[in-house]
Protein backbone atom coordinates (compact mmCIF):
# COMPACT_ATOMS: atom_id res chain seq x y z
CA UNK A 1 0.00 0.00 0.00
CA UNK A 2 3.00 2.28 0.48
CA UNK A 3 3.76 2.49 -3.24
CA UNK A 4 0.12 3.13 -4.01
CA UNK A 5 -0.23 6.06 -1.67
CA UNK A 6 3.00 7.57 -3.06
CA UNK A 7 1.79 7.37 -6.65
CA UNK A 8 -1.60 8.68 -5.59
CA UNK A 9 0.11 11.71 -4.13
CA UNK A 10 1.94 12.27 -7.39
CA UNK A 11 -1.34 12.33 -9.24
CA UNK A 12 -2.43 15.92 -9.74
CA UNK A 13 -6.03 15.65 -8.60
CA UNK A 14 -6.55 19.38 -8.42
CA UNK A 15 -5.84 19.89 -12.12
CA UNK A 16 -7.76 16.76 -13.13
CA UNK A 17 -10.79 17.81 -11.11
CA UNK A 18 -10.85 21.48 -12.07
CA UNK A 19 -10.47 20.61 -15.77
CA UNK A 20 -13.44 18.27 -15.51
CA UNK A 21 -15.51 20.86 -13.66
CA UNK A 22 -15.00 23.29 -16.54
CA UNK A 23 -15.98 20.70 -19.13
CA UNK A 24 -19.02 19.48 -17.20
CA UNK A 25 -20.17 23.04 -16.53
CA UNK A 26 -20.07 23.98 -20.18
CA UNK A 27 -21.93 20.80 -21.16
CA UNK A 28 -24.59 21.44 -18.52
CA UNK A 29 -24.92 25.01 -19.75
CA UNK A 30 -25.67 23.69 -23.27
CA UNK A 31 -27.97 20.95 -21.98
CA UNK A 32 -30.47 23.35 -20.38
CA UNK A 33 -31.10 26.24 -22.79
CA UNK A 34 -33.81 28.74 -21.86
CA UNK A 35 -36.96 28.05 -23.90
CA UNK A 36 -40.67 28.68 -23.47
CA UNK A 37 -41.96 28.50 -20.72
CA UNK A 38 -38.88 30.36 -19.55
CA UNK A 39 -39.59 30.35 -15.83
CA UNK A 40 -39.12 26.60 -15.51
CA UNK A 41 -35.82 26.65 -17.40
CA UNK A 42 -34.56 29.48 -15.23
CA UNK A 43 -35.46 27.50 -12.11
CA UNK A 44 -33.74 24.38 -13.45
CA UNK A 45 -30.62 26.31 -14.45
CA UNK A 46 -30.47 28.13 -11.13
CA UNK A 47 -29.83 24.92 -9.21
CA UNK A 48 -27.90 22.89 -11.77
CA UNK A 49 -25.54 25.71 -12.75
CA UNK A 50 -25.06 27.05 -9.20
CA UNK A 51 -21.65 28.63 -8.63
CA UNK A 52 -19.13 26.61 -6.70
CA UNK A 53 -20.60 23.18 -7.41
CA UNK A 54 -17.93 20.53 -6.89
CA UNK A 55 -19.34 18.17 -9.53
CA UNK A 56 -18.13 15.19 -7.50
CA UNK A 57 -20.57 12.67 -9.09
CA UNK A 58 -19.53 13.56 -12.67
CA UNK A 59 -15.83 13.48 -11.78
CA UNK A 60 -16.24 10.07 -10.13
CA UNK A 61 -18.17 8.82 -13.18
CA UNK A 62 -15.55 10.03 -15.68
CA UNK A 63 -12.65 8.66 -13.61
CA UNK A 64 -14.31 5.23 -13.32
CA UNK A 65 -14.98 5.19 -17.07
CA UNK A 66 -11.37 6.13 -17.86
CA UNK A 67 -10.09 3.34 -15.63
CA UNK A 68 -11.31 0.89 -18.29
CA UNK A 69 -10.03 3.01 -21.17
CA UNK A 70 -13.50 4.32 -21.81
CA UNK A 71 -13.68 7.65 -23.60
CA UNK A 72 -14.58 10.77 -21.67
CA UNK A 73 -16.99 11.56 -24.48
CA UNK A 74 -18.90 8.38 -23.63
CA UNK A 75 -19.17 9.40 -19.98
CA UNK A 76 -20.09 13.09 -20.23
CA UNK A 77 -23.83 12.77 -20.94
CA UNK A 78 -24.25 10.46 -17.94
CA UNK A 79 -21.98 12.69 -15.85
CA UNK A 80 -24.30 15.62 -16.64
CA UNK A 81 -27.38 13.49 -15.92
CA UNK A 82 -26.00 12.67 -12.47
CA UNK A 83 -25.81 16.40 -11.71
CA UNK A 84 -29.35 16.95 -13.00
CA UNK A 85 -30.96 14.22 -10.90
CA UNK A 86 -28.82 15.17 -7.91
CA UNK A 87 -29.95 18.79 -8.20
CA UNK A 88 -33.57 17.61 -8.51
CA UNK A 89 -33.27 15.65 -5.25
CA UNK A 90 -31.69 18.59 -3.45
CA UNK A 91 -34.36 21.04 -4.67
CA UNK A 92 -37.08 18.77 -3.30
CA UNK A 93 -35.18 18.08 -0.05
CA UNK A 94 -35.04 21.82 0.68
CA UNK A 95 -38.80 22.39 0.33
CA UNK A 96 -40.75 23.80 3.29
CA UNK A 97 -42.64 20.52 3.70
CA UNK A 98 -39.29 18.67 3.84
CA UNK A 99 -36.13 20.13 5.43
CA UNK A 100 -37.45 23.69 5.15
CA UNK A 101 -34.05 24.98 4.20
CA UNK A 102 -34.03 28.55 2.87
CA UNK A 103 -30.48 28.27 1.51
CA UNK A 104 -28.19 25.84 -0.25
CA UNK A 105 -24.43 26.27 -0.77
CA UNK A 106 -24.74 29.81 0.58
CA UNK A 107 -27.38 30.80 -2.02
CA UNK A 108 -31.14 31.07 -1.49
CA UNK A 109 -32.68 27.66 -2.20
CA UNK A 110 -34.73 27.11 -5.33
CA UNK A 111 -38.17 27.59 -3.76
CA UNK A 112 -36.99 30.76 -1.99
CA UNK A 113 -36.31 32.29 -5.41
CA UNK A 114 -38.92 30.68 -7.68
CA UNK A 115 -41.69 29.63 -5.29
CA UNK A 116 -42.62 26.20 -3.97
CA UNK A 117 -44.72 25.24 -7.00
CA UNK A 118 -41.97 26.04 -9.47
CA UNK A 119 -39.36 24.29 -7.32
CA UNK A 120 -41.38 21.07 -7.32
CA UNK A 121 -41.79 21.30 -11.09
CA UNK A 122 -38.11 22.12 -11.65
CA UNK A 123 -37.23 18.90 -9.83
CA UNK A 124 -39.88 16.98 -11.75
CA UNK A 125 -38.39 18.25 -15.01
CA UNK A 126 -34.74 17.63 -14.10
CA UNK A 127 -35.19 13.91 -13.42
CA UNK A 128 -36.45 13.10 -16.93
CA UNK A 129 -34.05 15.57 -18.54
CA UNK A 130 -31.22 13.51 -17.07
CA UNK A 131 -32.49 10.31 -18.67
CA UNK A 132 -33.25 12.07 -21.94
CA UNK A 133 -29.76 13.55 -22.00
CA UNK A 134 -28.17 10.13 -21.61
CA UNK A 135 -30.11 8.44 -24.40
CA UNK A 136 -29.88 11.34 -26.83
CA UNK A 137 -26.25 12.41 -26.29
CA UNK A 138 -24.24 9.24 -25.65
CA UNK A 139 -22.51 8.34 -28.95
CA UNK A 140 -24.00 4.98 -30.04
CA UNK A 141 -20.67 3.90 -31.52
CA UNK A 142 -19.04 4.14 -28.07
CA UNK A 143 -21.66 2.55 -25.82
CA UNK A 144 -24.11 -0.27 -26.59
CA UNK A 145 -27.83 0.22 -26.00
CA UNK A 146 -27.76 -2.60 -23.44
CA UNK A 147 -25.20 -0.72 -21.35
CA UNK A 148 -27.17 2.50 -21.74
CA UNK A 149 -30.28 0.83 -20.33
CA UNK A 150 -28.22 -0.45 -17.39
CA UNK A 151 -27.07 3.12 -16.73
CA UNK A 152 -30.65 4.43 -16.86
CA UNK A 153 -31.83 1.69 -14.48
CA UNK A 154 -28.92 2.33 -12.13
CA UNK A 155 -29.64 6.05 -11.84
CA UNK A 156 -33.40 5.51 -11.54
CA UNK A 157 -32.92 2.99 -8.73
CA UNK A 158 -30.48 5.29 -6.97
CA UNK A 159 -32.84 8.26 -6.79
CA UNK A 160 -35.92 6.08 -6.16
CA UNK A 161 -37.90 4.64 -3.27
CA UNK A 162 -35.17 2.28 -2.07
CA UNK A 163 -32.36 4.80 -2.64
CA UNK A 164 -32.16 8.54 -2.04
CA UNK A 165 -35.94 8.99 -1.63
CA UNK A 166 -35.82 6.32 1.09
CA UNK A 167 -32.94 8.19 2.73
CA UNK A 168 -34.80 11.47 2.72
CA UNK A 169 -37.95 9.78 4.00
CA UNK A 170 -36.16 8.22 6.98
CA UNK A 171 -34.27 11.42 7.59
CA UNK A 172 -37.63 13.14 8.11
CA UNK A 173 -39.54 10.37 9.82
CA UNK A 174 -36.76 8.83 11.90
CA UNK A 175 -36.55 5.16 12.84
CA UNK A 176 -34.14 2.63 14.35
CA UNK A 177 -30.50 3.08 13.23
CA UNK A 178 -31.73 5.83 10.99
CA UNK A 179 -28.52 7.88 11.06
CA UNK A 180 -26.30 5.30 9.42
CA UNK A 181 -29.14 4.29 7.09
CA UNK A 182 -29.67 7.90 6.04
CA UNK A 183 -25.92 8.45 5.49
CA UNK A 184 -25.81 5.31 3.39
CA UNK A 185 -28.88 6.20 1.32
CA UNK A 186 -28.47 9.93 0.89
CA UNK A 187 -24.71 10.02 0.33
CA UNK A 188 -23.50 6.48 -0.26
CA UNK A 189 -25.98 5.70 -3.02
CA UNK A 190 -24.98 8.67 -5.16
CA UNK A 191 -21.26 7.86 -4.84
CA UNK A 192 -21.85 4.21 -5.67
CA UNK A 193 -24.07 5.07 -8.60
CA UNK A 194 -21.55 7.55 -10.04
CA UNK A 195 -18.74 5.01 -9.96
CA UNK A 196 -20.95 2.19 -11.28
CA UNK A 197 -22.22 4.30 -14.19
CA UNK A 198 -18.67 5.17 -15.17
CA UNK A 199 -17.76 1.48 -15.04
CA UNK A 200 -20.78 0.47 -17.12
CA UNK A 201 -19.93 3.07 -19.77
CA UNK A 202 -16.26 2.05 -19.79
CA UNK A 203 -17.08 -1.66 -20.20
CA UNK A 204 -16.31 -3.01 -16.70
CA UNK A 205 -17.09 -6.63 -15.80
CA UNK A 206 -19.79 -7.55 -13.27
CA UNK A 207 -17.20 -8.16 -10.57
CA UNK A 208 -15.59 -4.81 -11.27
CA UNK A 209 -18.99 -3.12 -11.11
CA UNK A 210 -19.50 -4.63 -7.65
CA UNK A 211 -16.17 -3.28 -6.48
CA UNK A 212 -16.95 0.16 -7.90
CA UNK A 213 -20.28 0.19 -6.09
CA UNK A 214 -18.68 -0.57 -2.69
CA UNK A 215 -15.87 1.87 -3.39
CA UNK A 216 -18.23 4.67 -4.45
CA UNK A 217 -20.54 4.13 -1.49
CA UNK A 218 -17.68 4.29 0.96
CA UNK A 219 -16.31 7.47 -0.63
CA UNK A 220 -19.76 9.11 -0.71
CA UNK A 221 -20.38 8.49 2.98
CA UNK A 222 -16.78 9.38 3.83
CA UNK A 223 -17.15 12.81 2.24
CA UNK A 224 -20.25 13.57 4.19
CA UNK A 225 -18.91 12.33 7.53
CA UNK A 226 -15.75 14.46 7.10
CA UNK A 227 -17.87 17.45 6.02
CA UNK A 228 -19.70 17.09 9.32
CA UNK A 229 -16.44 16.95 11.25
CA UNK A 230 -15.13 20.07 9.52
CA UNK A 231 -18.38 21.92 10.19
CA UNK A 232 -18.25 20.90 13.84
CA UNK A 233 -14.65 22.08 14.14
CA UNK A 234 -15.51 25.44 12.58
CA UNK A 235 -18.68 25.51 14.67
CA UNK A 236 -20.88 26.17 11.68
CA UNK A 237 -24.51 26.16 12.75
CA UNK A 238 -26.68 24.26 10.34
CA UNK A 239 -29.87 26.10 9.49
CA UNK A 240 -32.01 23.14 8.40
CA UNK A 241 -34.22 23.22 11.47
CA UNK A 242 -35.64 19.76 11.14
CA UNK A 243 -32.24 18.08 10.92
CA UNK A 244 -30.61 19.24 14.14
CA UNK A 245 -28.87 16.40 15.92
CA UNK A 246 -29.30 14.09 12.97
CA UNK A 247 -25.84 14.18 11.38
CA UNK A 248 -23.28 11.55 12.25
CA UNK A 249 -21.06 13.99 14.07
CA UNK A 250 -23.88 15.57 16.01
CA UNK A 251 -25.04 12.15 17.14
CA UNK A 252 -21.70 10.46 17.94
CA UNK A 253 -19.15 13.25 18.30
CA UNK A 254 -16.04 14.22 16.32
CA UNK A 255 -13.75 11.49 17.61
CA UNK A 256 -16.08 8.62 16.76
CA UNK A 257 -16.85 10.22 13.39
CA UNK A 258 -13.12 10.32 12.54
CA UNK A 259 -12.82 6.64 13.44
CA UNK A 260 -15.66 5.86 11.07
CA UNK A 261 -13.97 8.01 8.43
CA UNK A 262 -10.73 6.03 8.70
CA UNK A 263 -12.65 2.75 8.41
CA UNK A 264 -14.37 4.05 5.29
CA UNK A 265 -11.06 5.19 3.82
CA UNK A 266 -9.59 1.72 4.35
CA UNK A 267 -12.69 0.07 2.94
CA UNK A 268 -12.63 2.19 -0.21
CA UNK A 269 -8.94 1.46 -0.80
CA UNK A 270 -9.47 -2.25 -0.23
CA UNK A 271 -11.91 -2.30 -3.14
CA UNK A 272 -9.42 -0.48 -5.35
CA UNK A 273 -6.82 -3.20 -4.78
CA UNK A 274 -8.91 -5.28 -7.17
CA UNK A 275 -7.95 -2.89 -9.98
CA UNK A 276 -4.19 -3.41 -9.67
CA UNK A 277 -3.89 -4.66 -13.24
CA UNK A 278 -4.89 -1.23 -14.56
CA UNK A 279 -1.72 0.31 -13.13
CA UNK A 280 -1.59 4.10 -12.79
CA UNK A 281 -5.05 4.53 -14.25
CA UNK A 282 -6.54 3.78 -10.85
CA UNK A 283 -4.73 6.74 -9.27
CA UNK A 284 -7.58 9.26 -9.69
CA UNK A 285 -9.86 6.92 -7.74
CA UNK A 286 -7.26 6.59 -4.94
CA UNK A 287 -6.78 10.33 -4.80
CA UNK A 288 -10.52 10.93 -4.22
CA UNK A 289 -10.35 8.78 -1.10
CA UNK A 290 -7.46 10.68 0.44
CA UNK A 291 -8.87 14.01 -0.61
CA UNK A 292 -12.15 13.18 1.12
CA UNK A 293 -10.29 12.98 4.42
CA UNK A 294 -7.35 15.36 4.01
CA UNK A 295 -8.92 18.16 1.92
CA UNK A 296 -5.52 19.31 0.71
CA UNK A 297 -7.02 22.04 -1.47
CA UNK A 298 -10.32 23.81 -2.01
CA UNK A 299 -12.43 22.68 -4.90
CA UNK A 300 -15.38 24.33 -6.63
Amino acid sequence: TMSISVSAQEFDLKTYWSTLIKEVNSKLEEAIPVKYPEEIYKAMRYSVLAQGAKRAPPVMCVAACELFDGSRIAAFPTACALEMVHAASLIHDDLPCMDDDPSRRGQPSNHTVFGVDMAILAGDALFPLGFQHIVSHTPPELVTETRLLQVVAEIARTVGSTGMAAGQFLDLEGGPNSISFVEEKKFGEMGGCSAVCGGLLGGASDEEINRLRKYGRAVGILYHVVDGVLEAKMQIVRNDKKKKGKSYVEAYGVEKAMEVAEELRAEAKRELEGFEKYGDKVNPLYSFVDYAVDRGFTMG
Partner: protein, 304 residues
Protein backbone atom coordinates in the same frame (compact mmCIF):
# COMPACT_ATOMS: atom_id res chain seq x y z
CA UNK B 1 -70.98 14.49 -29.79
CA UNK B 2 -74.16 12.52 -29.78
CA UNK B 3 -74.89 11.49 -33.34
CA UNK B 4 -71.76 9.81 -34.59
CA UNK B 5 -72.02 6.12 -35.16
CA UNK B 6 -71.01 4.09 -32.14
CA UNK B 7 -71.38 0.72 -33.77
CA UNK B 8 -68.33 -1.50 -33.90
CA UNK B 9 -70.41 -4.54 -33.34
CA UNK B 10 -67.85 -7.23 -34.12
CA UNK B 11 -65.54 -5.94 -31.44
CA UNK B 12 -66.69 -6.16 -27.82
CA UNK B 13 -65.09 -3.07 -26.31
CA UNK B 14 -66.42 -3.49 -22.79
CA UNK B 15 -64.94 -6.92 -22.57
CA UNK B 16 -61.67 -5.66 -24.07
CA UNK B 17 -61.44 -2.78 -21.57
CA UNK B 18 -62.24 -5.03 -18.66
CA UNK B 19 -59.56 -7.55 -19.64
CA UNK B 20 -56.89 -4.96 -20.37
CA UNK B 21 -57.57 -2.97 -17.19
CA UNK B 22 -57.35 -6.19 -15.25
CA UNK B 23 -53.98 -7.19 -16.70
CA UNK B 24 -52.63 -3.66 -16.27
CA UNK B 25 -53.79 -3.58 -12.65
CA UNK B 26 -52.14 -6.91 -11.97
CA UNK B 27 -48.92 -5.77 -13.61
CA UNK B 28 -48.92 -2.53 -11.60
CA UNK B 29 -49.59 -4.39 -8.37
CA UNK B 30 -46.62 -6.66 -9.02
CA UNK B 31 -44.34 -3.89 -10.26
CA UNK B 32 -44.57 -1.66 -7.18
CA UNK B 33 -44.18 -4.05 -4.30
CA UNK B 34 -44.67 -3.18 -0.67
CA UNK B 35 -41.21 -3.03 0.87
CA UNK B 36 -39.09 -0.92 3.21
CA UNK B 37 -39.56 1.91 3.91
CA UNK B 38 -43.20 0.82 4.04
CA UNK B 39 -44.91 4.19 4.22
CA UNK B 40 -43.41 5.57 1.02
CA UNK B 41 -44.32 2.40 -0.89
CA UNK B 42 -47.82 2.47 0.60
CA UNK B 43 -48.18 6.05 -0.60
CA UNK B 44 -47.00 5.07 -4.09
CA UNK B 45 -49.45 2.17 -4.22
CA UNK B 46 -52.32 4.19 -2.74
CA UNK B 47 -52.47 6.51 -5.73
CA UNK B 48 -51.24 4.07 -8.38
CA UNK B 49 -53.79 1.39 -7.53
CA UNK B 50 -56.68 3.78 -6.89
CA UNK B 51 -58.58 2.39 -9.84
CA UNK B 52 -58.23 4.86 -12.70
CA UNK B 53 -59.60 3.93 -16.09
CA UNK B 54 -56.12 2.96 -17.35
CA UNK B 55 -56.74 4.77 -20.64
CA UNK B 56 -53.04 5.50 -21.17
CA UNK B 57 -51.79 1.95 -20.59
CA UNK B 58 -54.56 0.66 -22.85
CA UNK B 59 -53.55 3.04 -25.64
CA UNK B 60 -49.98 1.80 -25.27
CA UNK B 61 -51.00 -1.88 -25.44
CA UNK B 62 -53.46 -1.32 -28.29
CA UNK B 63 -50.85 0.53 -30.39
CA UNK B 64 -48.34 -2.26 -29.77
CA UNK B 65 -50.80 -4.91 -30.88
CA UNK B 66 -51.97 -2.86 -33.87
CA UNK B 67 -48.47 -2.96 -35.39
CA UNK B 68 -48.12 -6.66 -34.65
CA UNK B 69 -46.44 -6.77 -31.23
CA UNK B 70 -47.45 -8.92 -28.30
CA UNK B 71 -49.13 -7.32 -25.29
CA UNK B 72 -46.38 -8.49 -22.96
CA UNK B 73 -43.73 -6.50 -24.85
CA UNK B 74 -45.47 -3.20 -24.05
CA UNK B 75 -46.70 -4.05 -20.54
CA UNK B 76 -43.76 -2.49 -18.64
CA UNK B 77 -44.04 0.71 -20.71
CA UNK B 78 -47.80 0.84 -20.21
CA UNK B 79 -47.25 0.53 -16.45
CA UNK B 80 -44.64 3.28 -16.70
CA UNK B 81 -47.04 5.73 -18.34
CA UNK B 82 -49.56 5.07 -15.57
CA UNK B 83 -46.84 5.67 -12.95
CA UNK B 84 -45.99 8.97 -14.64
CA UNK B 85 -49.65 9.95 -14.90
CA UNK B 86 -50.12 9.14 -11.20
CA UNK B 87 -47.03 11.03 -10.06
CA UNK B 88 -48.12 14.13 -11.96
CA UNK B 89 -51.55 13.94 -10.29
CA UNK B 90 -49.97 13.56 -6.82
CA UNK B 91 -47.79 16.62 -7.36
CA UNK B 92 -50.54 18.66 -9.08
CA UNK B 93 -52.88 18.06 -6.13
CA UNK B 94 -50.41 19.48 -3.58
CA UNK B 95 -51.46 22.59 -1.62
CA UNK B 96 -48.82 24.71 -3.37
CA UNK B 97 -50.19 23.68 -6.78
CA UNK B 98 -53.91 23.02 -7.43
CA UNK B 99 -54.67 22.29 -3.76
CA UNK B 100 -57.09 19.42 -4.29
CA UNK B 101 -58.50 17.29 -1.45
CA UNK B 102 -60.21 14.68 -3.61
CA UNK B 103 -58.99 12.55 -6.50
CA UNK B 104 -60.89 9.66 -8.08
CA UNK B 105 -63.36 10.02 -5.22
CA UNK B 106 -60.71 9.45 -2.52
CA UNK B 107 -58.65 11.80 -0.34
CA UNK B 108 -55.56 12.97 -2.22
CA UNK B 109 -52.15 11.50 -1.45
CA UNK B 110 -50.88 14.37 0.73
CA UNK B 111 -54.15 14.34 2.70
CA UNK B 112 -53.46 10.74 3.70
CA UNK B 113 -49.65 10.60 3.94
CA UNK B 114 -48.58 14.21 4.42
CA UNK B 115 -46.97 16.59 1.95
CA UNK B 116 -43.41 15.36 2.45
CA UNK B 117 -44.28 11.76 1.68
CA UNK B 118 -46.49 12.82 -1.24
CA UNK B 119 -43.59 14.70 -2.86
CA UNK B 120 -41.27 11.72 -2.34
CA UNK B 121 -43.85 9.17 -3.51
CA UNK B 122 -44.24 11.18 -6.73
CA UNK B 123 -40.48 11.39 -7.22
CA UNK B 124 -40.15 7.68 -6.56
CA UNK B 125 -42.87 6.79 -9.08
CA UNK B 126 -41.19 8.98 -11.66
CA UNK B 127 -37.84 7.27 -11.17
CA UNK B 128 -39.37 3.81 -11.01
CA UNK B 129 -41.14 4.29 -14.33
CA UNK B 130 -37.71 4.53 -15.99
CA UNK B 131 -36.23 1.68 -14.00
CA UNK B 132 -39.19 -0.52 -14.89
CA UNK B 133 -39.04 0.19 -18.63
CA UNK B 134 -35.28 -0.30 -18.70
CA UNK B 135 -35.21 -3.56 -16.73
CA UNK B 136 -38.58 -5.30 -17.28
CA UNK B 137 -39.10 -4.87 -21.03
CA UNK B 138 -38.46 -8.22 -22.73
CA UNK B 139 -38.65 -9.53 -26.27
CA UNK B 140 -37.61 -6.40 -28.15
CA UNK B 141 -34.25 -4.96 -29.24
CA UNK B 142 -32.46 -2.71 -26.72
CA UNK B 143 -32.36 -0.06 -29.45
CA UNK B 144 -36.17 0.20 -29.32
CA UNK B 145 -36.19 0.27 -25.51
CA UNK B 146 -33.73 3.18 -25.59
CA UNK B 147 -36.10 5.04 -27.94
CA UNK B 148 -38.91 4.41 -25.47
CA UNK B 149 -36.84 5.81 -22.58
CA UNK B 150 -36.26 8.96 -24.66
CA UNK B 151 -39.95 9.28 -25.49
CA UNK B 152 -40.98 8.76 -21.86
CA UNK B 153 -38.54 11.44 -20.71
CA UNK B 154 -39.73 13.86 -23.39
CA UNK B 155 -43.39 13.60 -22.46
CA UNK B 156 -42.87 14.26 -18.75
CA UNK B 157 -40.29 16.98 -18.77
CA UNK B 158 -40.07 20.69 -19.40
CA UNK B 159 -41.34 20.26 -22.97
CA UNK B 160 -44.14 17.95 -21.79
CA UNK B 161 -46.29 17.59 -18.68
CA UNK B 162 -44.23 20.07 -16.67
CA UNK B 163 -44.51 22.73 -19.39
CA UNK B 164 -48.30 22.34 -19.36
CA UNK B 165 -48.50 22.68 -15.60
CA UNK B 166 -46.15 25.69 -15.55
CA UNK B 167 -48.18 27.59 -18.13
CA UNK B 168 -51.43 26.52 -16.45
CA UNK B 169 -50.26 27.81 -13.06
CA UNK B 170 -49.08 31.11 -14.49
CA UNK B 171 -52.37 31.59 -16.37
CA UNK B 172 -54.64 31.30 -13.37
CA UNK B 173 -56.93 34.30 -13.03
CA UNK B 174 -56.01 35.64 -16.47
CA UNK B 175 -59.32 36.30 -18.18
CA UNK B 176 -58.06 37.20 -21.66
CA UNK B 177 -56.47 33.85 -22.44
CA UNK B 178 -56.50 33.01 -26.13
CA UNK B 179 -57.27 29.70 -27.76
CA UNK B 180 -53.58 29.14 -28.66
CA UNK B 181 -52.64 29.51 -25.04
CA UNK B 182 -55.36 27.10 -23.88
CA UNK B 183 -54.30 24.65 -26.56
CA UNK B 184 -50.68 24.81 -25.38
CA UNK B 185 -51.74 23.93 -21.84
CA UNK B 186 -53.87 21.00 -22.92
CA UNK B 187 -51.47 19.69 -25.53
CA UNK B 188 -48.83 19.53 -22.80
CA UNK B 189 -50.87 18.59 -19.75
CA UNK B 190 -52.91 15.87 -21.38
CA UNK B 191 -52.23 15.17 -25.03
CA UNK B 192 -48.50 14.68 -24.72
CA UNK B 193 -48.83 11.72 -22.36
CA UNK B 194 -51.53 10.06 -24.45
CA UNK B 195 -49.34 10.63 -27.49
CA UNK B 196 -46.36 9.17 -25.69
CA UNK B 197 -48.35 6.13 -24.61
CA UNK B 198 -49.34 5.33 -28.19
CA UNK B 199 -45.87 6.06 -29.60
CA UNK B 200 -44.15 3.85 -27.03
CA UNK B 201 -46.55 1.01 -27.78
CA UNK B 202 -45.99 1.38 -31.51
CA UNK B 203 -42.19 1.47 -31.14
CA UNK B 204 -42.17 -1.60 -28.88
CA UNK B 205 -44.56 -3.47 -31.16
CA UNK B 206 -42.07 -3.10 -34.01
CA UNK B 207 -43.86 -0.35 -35.93
CA UNK B 208 -42.15 1.32 -38.91
CA UNK B 209 -41.28 5.03 -38.72
CA UNK B 210 -44.27 5.79 -40.93
CA UNK B 211 -46.63 3.80 -38.68
CA UNK B 212 -45.24 5.43 -35.55
CA UNK B 213 -45.71 8.85 -37.15
CA UNK B 214 -49.35 8.19 -38.08
CA UNK B 215 -50.13 6.86 -34.63
CA UNK B 216 -48.46 9.88 -33.06
CA UNK B 217 -50.78 12.19 -34.99
CA UNK B 218 -53.76 10.01 -34.08
CA UNK B 219 -52.90 10.20 -30.39
CA UNK B 220 -52.29 13.94 -30.42
CA UNK B 221 -55.84 14.52 -31.73
CA UNK B 222 -57.27 12.05 -29.23
CA UNK B 223 -55.35 13.75 -26.42
CA UNK B 224 -56.79 17.14 -27.26
CA UNK B 225 -60.21 15.55 -27.68
CA UNK B 226 -59.86 14.10 -24.17
CA UNK B 227 -59.46 17.60 -22.75
CA UNK B 228 -62.22 19.21 -24.82
CA UNK B 229 -64.60 16.51 -23.57
CA UNK B 230 -63.30 17.02 -20.02
CA UNK B 231 -64.09 20.75 -20.23
CA UNK B 232 -67.57 20.04 -21.63
CA UNK B 233 -68.26 17.55 -18.83
CA UNK B 234 -67.14 20.06 -16.19
CA UNK B 235 -69.96 22.36 -17.35
CA UNK B 236 -72.64 19.76 -17.96
CA UNK B 237 -72.23 17.16 -15.19
CA UNK B 238 -72.51 17.11 -11.39
CA UNK B 239 -69.69 16.33 -8.94
CA UNK B 240 -71.25 12.99 -8.11
CA UNK B 241 -71.27 11.88 -11.73
CA UNK B 242 -67.68 13.01 -12.22
CA UNK B 243 -66.17 11.68 -8.99
CA UNK B 244 -64.44 15.04 -8.60
CA UNK B 245 -65.50 18.61 -7.98
CA UNK B 246 -67.64 19.80 -10.89
CA UNK B 247 -67.71 23.40 -12.04
CA UNK B 248 -64.27 23.81 -10.50
CA UNK B 249 -62.92 25.34 -13.70
CA UNK B 250 -65.68 27.94 -13.71
CA UNK B 251 -65.19 28.80 -10.05
CA UNK B 252 -61.44 29.12 -10.55
CA UNK B 253 -62.18 31.26 -13.61
CA UNK B 254 -60.05 28.93 -15.71
CA UNK B 255 -60.08 29.20 -19.45
CA UNK B 256 -61.96 26.27 -20.96
CA UNK B 257 -63.19 25.40 -24.43
CA UNK B 258 -66.86 26.04 -23.56
CA UNK B 259 -65.87 29.43 -22.13
CA UNK B 260 -63.82 30.44 -25.17
CA UNK B 261 -65.89 28.79 -27.93
CA UNK B 262 -69.29 28.17 -26.41
CA UNK B 263 -70.73 24.73 -25.83
CA UNK B 264 -71.90 24.06 -29.40
CA UNK B 265 -68.65 25.00 -31.05
CA UNK B 266 -66.74 22.99 -28.44
CA UNK B 267 -68.76 19.97 -29.49
CA UNK B 268 -68.08 20.72 -33.18
CA UNK B 269 -64.38 20.95 -32.39
CA UNK B 270 -64.49 17.60 -30.59
CA UNK B 271 -66.03 16.06 -33.69
CA UNK B 272 -63.37 17.54 -35.93
CA UNK B 273 -60.62 16.15 -33.70
CA UNK B 274 -62.26 12.75 -33.84
CA UNK B 275 -62.35 12.81 -37.65
CA UNK B 276 -58.73 13.98 -37.86
CA UNK B 277 -57.71 11.18 -35.51
CA UNK B 278 -59.50 8.42 -37.37
CA UNK B 279 -58.06 9.47 -40.77
CA UNK B 280 -54.65 8.47 -39.41
CA UNK B 281 -55.85 4.91 -38.92
CA UNK B 282 -57.19 4.51 -42.49
CA UNK B 283 -54.19 2.62 -43.78
CA UNK B 284 -54.10 0.10 -40.94
CA UNK B 285 -55.97 -3.20 -40.92
CA UNK B 286 -59.39 -2.02 -39.68
CA UNK B 287 -60.02 -5.14 -37.67
CA UNK B 288 -56.75 -4.75 -35.81
CA UNK B 289 -57.42 -1.02 -35.38
CA UNK B 290 -60.76 -1.71 -33.69
CA UNK B 291 -59.43 -1.34 -30.10
CA UNK B 292 -57.84 2.05 -30.84
CA UNK B 293 -60.98 3.24 -32.63
CA UNK B 294 -63.06 2.06 -29.70
CA UNK B 295 -60.74 3.81 -27.23
CA UNK B 296 -61.10 7.02 -29.24
CA UNK B 297 -64.88 6.63 -29.11
CA UNK B 298 -64.69 5.94 -25.40
CA UNK B 299 -62.75 9.16 -24.86
CA UNK B 300 -65.21 11.13 -26.98
CA UNK B 301 -68.41 9.72 -25.50
CA UNK B 302 -67.43 9.11 -21.88
CA UNK B 303 -69.55 10.72 -19.19
CA UNK B 304 -66.99 11.05 -16.39
Amino acid sequence: IQNEEKAHTKFNFEEYMFEKADSVNKALDEAVMLREPLKIHEAMRYSLLAGGKRVRPMLCLAACELVGGKESVAMPASCAVEMIHTMSLIHDDLPCMDNDDLRRGKPTNHKVYGEDTAVLAGDALLAFAFEHVATATKGVSPERVVRVVGELARVIGSQGLVAGQVVDLSSEGLSDLGLDHLEFIHLHKTAVLLEGSVVMGAVLGGGSDDQVDKLRKFARCIGLLFQVVDDILDVTKSSEELGKTAGKDLVADKATYPKLLGLDKSRDYAQKLMRDALIQLDEFDQEKAAPLIALANFIAYRDN
